[in-house]
């Protein structure tokens, strides 16, 4: 287990309960930037990557604003710790393999990360609890201002911020929210609800980002186009579309219990029963069952188990999160056994409504 202090404050965004926490796990915004005068990362050898890492790291360390950030060289972390940062949504899946000279600076509150040598020289990202894309983007803007004082960005009047892949060109901004849509999924209306996204320049991804499955009924909605639209326009479109989907999800949940009450109830209680008593469980099954539990919270079936508690469990059952807690549990249990054990103990603590 690493002794980096930032590891103690990761997942802090899960502590906050927001108005939309019942349908939006988290919001995120990131920008892509590159340095003037250096080749892009995909075409750089180790020597150039090292120079970029050294240069940016040095600038960040000297800056007042980033002085309190913790520098972590991903290649020096254990596989589990890297996976943990990914599960906490602080580094993207692509950085999990810990390539040499790929480095991350984490803010003391665990909400901001600056990534060096991912696909672009610099990527910075902000996490926010629930639906708060505007908050994430505005916090990101502050980081951008500070960063632009310390390094010279590759920029052109015509194309905006120049990125290794032209899909990120322009603002370099990718804003997203992780939606949880068990109601629409059960009613078979997700497809329909998300079909029009491309018309708005938006796209949908799964739980772990690009090319991942829609595990546990999670859908990540983000802007696809980064060029030709201002940051404000991008955010406005994204937020208004997300709000509409959240409304539809709310309707779907109400609809489920109004028209398919016994089936919906059965789904909730069956899931609860398995989570409460199972002895082995993989991540996918846990996410699927927890998703059904969301509907039970909606129906006030549980006295002391909230949407926020559920959101935390979604992260806690992830493999690396379980591994890091292993010390507290029996050492020789398999991971699936440890996961079932953790879920059993959490379910045991729930007081059911009469």
């Amino acid at each position: 287990m690493s002794d980096y202090r930032t590891f103690d404050v990761t997942d802090r965004w899960l502590d906050e309960d927001r108005a939309e926490s019942y349908a939006v796990l988290t919001s995120r915004a990131r920008f892509a930037r590159n340095l003037e005068g250096f080749p892009f990362v995909p075409h750089s050898g180790p020597d150039v990557l090292e120079r970029v890492d050294d240069y940016v790291s040095e600038r960040l360390r000297q800056s007042d604003y980033f002085g309190s950030y913790e520098r972590i060289e991903l290649a020096h972390l254990s596989e589990t710790d890297r996976a943990y940062l990914k599960e906490s949504r602080l580094i993207p899946k692509e950085m999990e393999r810990g390539a040499p000279h790929s480095t991350v600076f984490l803010s003391p509150d665990g909400m901001a990360s600056i990534l060096i040598n991912e696909e672009d020289h610099i990527r910075a990202q902000i996490l926010a609890p629930g639906l708060d894309v505007e908050g994430a983007v505005s916090a990101l803007g502050e980081i951008d201002d500070e960063l632009s004082k310390t390094v010279a960005y590759a920029w052109s009047e015509k194309f905006g911020y120049l990125t290794a892949c032209p899909t990120n060109l322009g603002t370099g901004l990718r804003a997203s929210a992780m939606l949880h849509l068990p109601g629409l999924t059960l009613l078979q209306e997700v497809d329909q609800s998300l079909r029009g996204l491309t018309h708005y320049g938006l796209t949908v991804r799964g739980f772990e980002g690009e090319n991942s499955d829609f595990l546990g009924d999670f859908f990540q909605i983000s802007n696809e186009a980064t060029l030709g639209k201002s940051v404000d326009e991008i955010v406005e479109t994204l937020v208004s579309v997300i709000k509409r989907i959240v409304e539809r999800e709310e309707e779907a949940r109400a609809n489920l219990f109004a028209h398919h009450a016994s089936a919906a109830d059965d789904a909730v209680w069956r899931s609860y029963a398995v989570l409460r008593y199972a002895r082995k469980m993989d991540t996918n099954e846990a996410l699927r069952l927890l998703s059904r539990l969301r509907l039970g919270i909606e129906r006030d079936y549980f006295q002391n188990f909230t949407h926020k508690d559920l959101n935390r469990l979604v992260i806690e059952v992830q493999p690396a999160h379980l591994e890091r807690k292993r010390d507290e549990w029996e050492k020789n249990a398999t991971r699936d056994e440890a996961r079932a054990r953790h879920l059993r103990s959490r379910m045991q603590g729930i007081v059911l409504s009469a």
Partner: protein, 185 residues
């Protein structure tokens, strides 16, 4: 009471509705069949996620077409490589990764089709970094204009005006130098 459409034995008590491709499919089921169908609905759900998945792949195909015709590929080899990093346009086309910031200048016109596919736009909207090249370019243009004016003033033998212009050019050049170093440090 209507019988369950699945087992045909028990009374149908639950109606499940599914909308696919604009068509509405409804099925009335008994309690136990509905419980089997509805709670997890594994099969239907998997089918559905695949359909979203394939839909996405379909959409992405337009953007990252990996397969290009030979004629197109041949055309790509006629494009001069980036003078700064030496990247060939054909190499960009196979990975969609550019070599360096200068590639955007070298391949500007050839990138337009891709940009349209990716963003439905070919120009940046919004601001740049403070002291960005936008400002620098503007200042540089201003200096060029002043030099032209200075030339005309000398030709016209308006030495007083020429002296003023010379001072302004020096001042602007000095400022520009300051901005450039500021941006680099």
């Amino acid at each position: 009471m209507k019988k369950c459409e699945r087992c045909g034995k028990d009374d149908a008590v639950v109606k499940l509705t599914r909308i696919e491709n604009g068509q509405v499919f409804s099925v009335v089921l008994c309690q136990s069949c509905a419980a089997e169908q509805s709670p997890i609905q594994k099969k239907i759900y998997q089918k559905q996620s695949t359909s979203i998945d394939s839909l996405l792949k379909e959409l992405l195909k337009g953007q990252h077409a990996a397969v290009i015709s030979e004629a197109e590929a041949a055309e790509h080899f006629d494009i001069a490589p980036c003078p700064k990093c030496g990247l060939e346009f054909a190499s960009y086309k196979s990975t969609y990764m550019l070599g360096c910031p200068e590639c955007y200048i070298a391949f500007a016109e050839h990138l337009e089709d891709d940009l349209k596919k990716m963003h439905h736009a070919t120009r940046h909207v919004g601001s740049g970094p403070p002291g960005s090249s936008e400002d620098l370019v503007r200042e540089q243009r201003r200096i060029e204009e002043l030099r032209e004016e200075l030339k005309t003033a000398v030709e016209m033998e308006d030495y007083e005006h020429a002296a003023r212009l010379r001072d302004e050019i020096e001042r602007t050049e000095h400022q520009l130098k300051g901005q450039k170093t500021e941006g680099k440090t």
